[in-house]
């Protein structure tokens, strides 16, 4: 496969909610990821410059219906509990559709901000909800959300960054908590947090970038940790991390592009590895990863929209609120 089946992928995202999808039991088992799924679908479409493929007002109404008045955050589905992950997804989708200033959203903003702020723990980290799970993913999610809402303060970011630095290992990578093994997705969350807070100068970029470039294996794909199999979603986690460090070119693009294209289903959708079941998560990160490659190469092979490696949204969207300087 040498081509990107853009139109098919647009249709794939459009059909995620179709009757055919709803006829299958698996569709209902995934309700706890629906809002996150909307975000992945919207970013996939935005990357292909086809945002109008989804009905904006329906998406807007659905996002608001996921708001959990008890916690103040967004759940992944109507009546589900608020969680930091789905809350970021909601904020991102609203931002992409330029609806954060809608009165219905403005109403809820104080509660949303309160929900996020109260998740920060004494050691600077964030829990995902009131039950205490701590992970550098949640720090990124909280910091990213607050920065989009213009509510990030030095008082919150300083201890968060200190905690993130404790998660760095000798190999240059970062783990989910201090002591944990380096993992490419966690590296992204840590680097992006450092980028948002303007603290990237607190690490040695070459060392981390070298570890990241070693994630590329024979066949061109990227893995998440040493001696693991490649998986398409690392096309995003690794490429965004390298892009943040200004070292996207430290992997071989030809090999990586070929790996990504082979994961496509010609009928639409992209999977973790060639010939596996497709899903919207991998579809989103394949396209966003390809966009980063295009940006680094200054080519327009696939005609994708430039994506911000820190926020995983189009740069045209993030330019509206970012104050950090892109490397």
């Amino acid at each position: 496969m040498t081509q990107l089946f853009k139109q098919k992928h647009v249709e794939y995202v459009q059909n995620l909610n179709s009757q055919i999808s709803q006829d299958s039991y698996e569709y209902w088992l995934l309700e706890h990821l629906r809002l996150n799924g909307i975000y992945w679908g919207v970013v996939a479409l935005a990357t292909m410059d086809n945002l109008k493929a989804l009905p904006e007002n329906e998406v807007f109404d659905f996002v608001l219906s996921c708001w959990d008045s008890r916690s103040g955050g967004f759940g992944a589905f109507p009546r589900h509990d608020g969680h930091i992950l789905s809350t970021l997804s909601a904020i991102q989708v609203l931002l992409i559709y330029n609806r954060l200033d809608d009165p219905k959203v403005v109403d809820k903003k104080p509660a949303i901000v309160k929900f996020i702020k109260e998740l920060q723990l004494e050691n600077g980290s964030f829990q995902g909800d009131r039950f205490g799970e701590v992970d550098t993913r949640f720090i990124y999610t909280a910091i990213s959300a607050l920065s989009i809402l213009g509510e990030l303060t030095e008082e919150m970011s300083r201890p968060a960054v200190d905690f993130i630095l404790l998660c760095q290992n000798f190999d240059g990578g970062f783990g989910m908590v201090p002591g944990a093994e380096s993992h490419a997705a966690q590296v992204f969350t840590c680097l992006a947090t450092l980028a948002i807070t303007g603290q990237l100068d607190r690490i040695k970029p070459e060392k981390t970038a070298a570890w990241l470039s070693d994630r590329q294996v024979e066949g061109g794909g990227l893995n998440g940790r040493p001696e693991k199999l490649p998986d398409l979603c690392y096309s995003w986690w690794v490429m965004s991390s390298l892009s943040i460090l200004g070292k996207a070119h430290w992997v071989d693009f030809t090999g990586l592009i070929s790996f990504i294209l082979k994961c496509q289903d010609p009928n639409g959708g992209i999977s973790d590895r060639a010939d596996n079941e497709t899903d919207v998560y991998h579809t989103c990160f394949a396209l966003a990863g390809l966009s980063l490659i295009e940006m680094s190469q200054k080519l327009k092979e696939f005609g994708l929209v430039p994506i911000d490696p820190v926020y995983c949204m189009p740069t045209s969207v993030t330019r509206k609120f970012t104050n950090y300087t892109q490397q």
Binding site: W28, H32, H80, F170, A209, D214, K228, G255, N276
Partner: protein, 377 residues
């Protein structure tokens, strides 16, 4: 998020049959969801509802809202003395083991296990030895599972905290506590050895070693007498002796499988971490250099063997990167810092050919934009 599920295309007939089969499953599932979410809205917290959350979680262990609801029900029923806390939580631990066998990478299940243990720990009723045995079993099934290793460190932290709680009286670390902590960490060190012996590529085990070694060394330092742990005591005499021991292990691994990333990363830690380097400098002015030169000879020997095996007589990628690193460290040690020397340039040049995936990285390093510490690794 689908991982590792083969793509299948159903025939029209099979698809229709599946839709028929799914109809009833969907109806049952949605009814159960609705019933529970209705009860949740009404803050119902009774035993029947607790049982209903079990039914739903068995169908869908990713349904985090239901795990949350379950926790709220348990807390309420325990407070009202309608159920016994220890029994209920231990039942949950059994349920979780059954679920983890099917979904070993599900965050929400691991999360609930940690919550249960935290609850039990508040009344000092958690059995950490059982937890350690369980996580060891799961690591037998998948020796790289990220959640398992994380959970294992959580268990060990709690075992350590238990030890310290038992003493609590004095603020200083007593001999008894230091001994107990040492025993826990040496057992962990031995566990990583056993994992590495089974599979040298298990970087999760090597990673844990980088955390355990300095800790064990410090704990040995806390002891007045040195009669404990005769089998490893001599290894932990000082960082230099640990280094020698670990270098032997790495050497075996490197000759067994020279393409394995784990051992080369670990070797880099051994040769550059201040924990070792500072001690070597204390041993004698040339000790660090001696170690570097000895390692250089070993890696060069391996590289020769690899070249003989290679159809085009090429250098081995990892050997060459390691040689480049060691030579840089030697140059830095002998204060010849400055521009890249011709030898290093030549090595970087050949790396662009033998490791084309990272060609641009080596080219950047040739341009001199990278620092020494990033060279080769």
């Amino acid at each position: 998020m689908q991982h590792g599920v083969k793509r299948i295309s159903l025939s029209e007939q099979a698809r229709k049959e599946k839709i028929q089969r799914d109809k009833l499953k969907i109806a049952n599932y949605r009814a159960l969801c609705k019933d529970l979410l209705d009860k949740k809205d009404k803050d119902v917290r009774d035993i029947a509802t607790l049982q209903a959350t079990t039914d739903l979680l068995l169908k869908n262990p990713e349904f985090y809202t239901i795990w949350n609801y379950r926790r709220d029900i348990i807390v309420a029923l325990v407070d009202a003395e309608k159920i016994k806390k220890k029994d209920t939580l231990e039942d949950d631990l059994k349920l979780i083991v059954a679920l983890l066998k099917r979904y070993p990478k599900c965050y929400w299940i691991w999360n609930h296990r940690i919550w249960c243990l935290d609850q039990l720990q508040q009344t000092r009723e958690a059995n950490w030895n059982v937890e350690l045995a369980i996580v060891s079993k799961f690591l037998d099934l998948d020796s790289r599972n990220y959640h398992c290793w994380q959970y294992r460190r959580f268990v060990i932290n709690n075992m350590e905290e238990d030890t310290l709680l038992e003493s609590s009286e004095s603020s200083n670390l007593g001999q008894k506590e230091a001994r107990a902590l040492l025993r826990i960490n040496i057992e962990e060190y031995k566990f990583t050895t056993s994992k590495i012996n089974k599979n040298i590529s298990n970087f999760s085990a090597w990673h844990n070693r980088t955390k355990l070694i300095p800790k064990i060394y410090d704990l040995f330092g806390e002891l007045d007498t040195t009669n404990d742990h005769a089998d490893v005591r001599h290894v932990f005499a000082r960082p230099q002796t640990i280094l020698q021991h670990e270098l032997e292990l790495v050497k075996t691994g490197m000759f067994m499988d020279s393409d394995d990333t784990s051992i080369w990363l670990y070797l880099q830690w051994l040769l550059t971490n201040p924990f070792f380097v500072d001690d070597l400098r204390k041993v004698s002015p040339t000790c660090y250099l001696d170690v570097l030169n000895a390692q250089l000879a070993i890696v060069e020997e391996l590289n020769e063997l690899e070249r003989e095996d290679h159809p085009k007589g090429w250098d081995h990628r990892w050997c060459l990167r390691c040689i480049l690193l060691i030579k840089s460290l030697i140059r830095e040690e002998t204060s010849e810092i400055g521009a890249l020397d011709d030898m290093s340039r030549k090595m970087l040049q050949s790396l662009t050919e033998i490791d084309p995936l990272r060609k641009c990285r080596y080219l950047d390093q040739l341009e001199g934009t990278g620092t020494l510490s990033s060279l080769a690794f």
